[in-house]
């Protein structure tokens, strides 16, 4: 069954095309990731689907309900966690949860099962004000609040931005548990590593979907030869690599540079080239492409 269906959605702010003819379907019980950098149009898409913004053109349904005509019913069924942790900082953890429970015409008791795994972690702090929680705890509370009315579709807009790596990992484990309860999850993130945890992902750039597929398929479609290179002077290395005509692309990935190269190029050639440029401690090795490599390649292609 299709939980979210989007057809040709367009949204403009002045002259800027925030969303350009976006279409996709999300199946029920699927974790669907929208992957892209800040300003790619993720939040606009979420706001349109949560009936908070109107699109210029195009149609969409959530849970079979039209986002314009049936917006009131949609608001009963969805859970939404906006990019900013939108909780009341001066209310305690418990008061926040209770408030959102009553707003959605339910009680904490009624749906405690659903949030138990998440909420039990912050329950020891239930009398603490939300403003005094750590980023990870705030996020758990926000998720609890978004889940308290047992939504059929959950919209999570950059839920892990500004959260420590441990909490991020825990958070994704929670999402897997929710998926097991047949809740459809549409999640956006700028972190490419989180993309692997989605069932399907859409790579978005400047309001356009570059590709939609399962993470594995997207990686499989990466046909280039991909190597990682590092040396003592990383910044100079980047410029030197980009100046080498047999290297197609070169991007920084944390401690190393990822390069795609022409087929006839050998690792030894690069080594010699770099030694000639005066680099020390040179290391070149083949790597498996990640989603980020695919994103950079696709983004590069559309730009040219």
């Amino acid at each position: 069954m299709v939980a979210i269906s989007v057809q040709n959605i367009n949204k403009k702010y002045g002259n800027i095309q925030a969303l350009n003819n976006i279409s996709f379907d999300v199946q029920q019980g699927e974790i669907y990731g929208i992957i892209g950098p800040d300003g790619a149009g993720k939040t606009s898409l979420f706001r349109i689907l949560t009936t908070l913004l109107l699109a210029e053109s195009g149609t969409a349904t959530v849970d079979g309900l039209d986002i314009i005509k049936d917006y009131k019913q949609i608001r009963n069924r969805i859970g939404y966690m906006p990019g900013k942790f939108s909780l009341y900082q001066d209310l305690t953890v418990e008061e926040n949860l209770e408030f959102f429970a009553t707003v959605f015409n339910t009680t904490i008791k009624e749906n405690y099962d659903l949030i138990k795994d998440i909420y039990s972690q912050i329950e020891p702090f239930k009398d603490r004000r939300a403003g005094k929680l750590s980023g990870g705890m705030k996020q758990k509370l926000a998720l609890s609040c978004a889940l308290i009315h047992k939504p059929t579709v959950l919209f999570l807009d950059e839920p892990t931005t500004g959260v420590d790596p441990v909490s991020r990992k825990e958070f994704w484990e929670m999402l897997q548990n929710l998926k097991a309860q047949n809740i459809t999850i549409l999640v956006s993130t700028p972190y490419m590593d989180e993309a692997m945890l989605c069932d399907r992902i859409a790579l978005i750039q400047e309001g356009t979907f570059l590709q939609v597929d399962t993470p594995d398929n997207i990686i499989e479609l990466f046909t280039q030869i991909l190597w990682a290179v590092k040396s003592k002077e990383m910044f100079r290395l980047l410029n030197d690599l980009r100046g080498y005509d047999r290297i197609k692309t070169c991007f920084t990935f944390g401690e190393v540079h990822h390069i795609t190269v022409k087929e006839d190029l050998k690792m030894e050639d690069i080594r010699t080239y770099l030694i000639g440029k005066g680099h020390q401690d040179i290391d070149v090795y083949a790597i498996k492409p990640s989603i980020e490599d695919c994103y950079m390649q696709l983004a590069q292609k559309t730009k040219v």
Binding site: T51, Y71, Y88, D90, F99, F100, T102
Partner: protein
């Protein structure tokens, strides 16, 4: 309904937990009442007076003594030279009035029946100048009365000025209604608009909008706590007014409460209207602060009489809700009139309420813009 009540509860939490704001909104009425009642006053008291008395006879001495004996005047300097009269105001800024007697004052008075006194007032503050010259005139008149009785001249002219409603000419009578108008405007309009806009700014409005909660409920729930606080303030103001400033409620108490509640609702709906327009708390504060408080102080008749304003400003003052409220409070509280005397104010305020509620509801977006 449960939704609604829990929202109201949440609003009360917001207010009670912000102790600083809480102190301000409950303290402002007290401070303003006391400030306007005692410190800021247009009453004339202890005005420093200089006297030029070339005749130095029994009449001038008695007049000088009577002036000095009154609460209003305090004679600080005797001038010896007529040239000093024109320079004294520049030399000593504390002197606000100079009394100049004729030469041979007593003689003239007894023989020709005519003697003159010149009162020279510093009119940089015109209101004060008028008031104090009036006081001085009345003291001189009363001395004239004494003389007439003493010398048994048959015709007596006895001018009598009576200050209606406010026999002691206490400025508190004027300020109490004004402060009431000001405070309700401040607390209701400003605080409500800020608290709604805060939810927009922090992003919680986004969740609320994406929830089944009706926007109408959100707005009304926001207004209720401030309505309650305003009632507390109304009580404080009336208590302070009656027991501290000694300004009694002479008219119908219930009508006064009734029209106050109506005005509070107008101010609340104005706050809600501002919140539908403003996007940030700062904007809401500026609009309600600059856009409401100043006009209320200046154009509502609280400080300056509307009748003496240019016609255009009089029209502008008509759209200021506080003007109508202050006028109604004056009638009900000070003049002691009944509800029938304030029908016009009542109807205008009701009309404003309906208009503002309608416009706010129409303007409130069920989506982000």
């Amino acid at each position: 309904m449960k939704q609604f009540l829990s929202f109201v509860k949440k609003e009360f939490f917001h207010i009670f937990r912000d102790t600083r704001t809480m102190m301000i909104i409950l303290g402002i009425p007290i401070i303003q009442m006391l400030l306007f009642g005692f410190a800021i006053t247009t009453e004339v008291r202890n005005v420093q007076v200089a006297v030029f008395d070339p005749s130095k006879d029994i009449s001038t001495e008695r007049i000088i003594n009577q002036l000095d004996a009154s609460n209003y005047f305090h004679i600080v300097q005797m001038l010896n030279n007529p040239d000093e009269i024109s320079t004294i105001f520049k030399k000593d800024h504390n002197i606000n009035l100079v009394v100049v007697f004729d030469e041979k004052f007593n003689e003239n008075l007894l023989h020709t029946g005519e003697a003159s006194i010149q009162l020279i007032a510093d009119a940089t503050d015109p209101n004060q100048a008028t008031t104090l010259s009036g006081y001085a005139t009345s003291i001189i008149n009363s001395y004239q009365q004494e003389l007439l009785q003493e010398y048994k001249i048959p015709i007596q002219i006895k001018p009598e000025v009576k200050m209606l409603y406010n026999p002691q000419i206490k400025s508190a009578y004027n300020f109490v209604p004004g402060v009431m108008g000001l405070i309700f405007m401040l607390i209701c309009a400003m605080m409500t608009s800020i608290s709604i806009v805060r939810e927009k700014e922090t992003g919680t409005m986004e969740i609320l909008l994406a929830s089944p909660m009706k926007p109408f409920y959100i707005i009304v729930a926001k207004a209720i706590p401030y309505f309650a606080i305003s009632i507390v303030n109304l009580t404080t103001i009336l208590l302070l007014s009656v027991y501290v400033l000694k300004v009694p409620v002479t008219g119908s108490f219930y009508s006064l409460i009734g029209i106050s509640l109506l005005f509070i609702m107008v101010a609340l709906s104005l706050g809600i209207f501002i919140s539908t327009v403003a996007q940030t708390q700062v904007a809401a504060m500026l609009v309600s602060g600059m856009g409401m408080i100043l006009p209320v102080m200046i154009l509502s008749g609280m400080i300056f009489p509307i009748e003496s304003m240019p016609v255009i400003l009089q029209w502008v003052s008509d759209i200021i809700p506080a003007k109508w409220y202050i006028s109604a409070v004056r009638k009900l509280m000070i003049q002691g009139l009944g509800i029938t005397a304030v029908y016009r104010e009542l109807v205008v305020l009701l009309g404003m309420l309906v208009f503002l509620v309608f416009v706010s509801l129409k303007n409130f977006k069920t989506r982000l813009n």
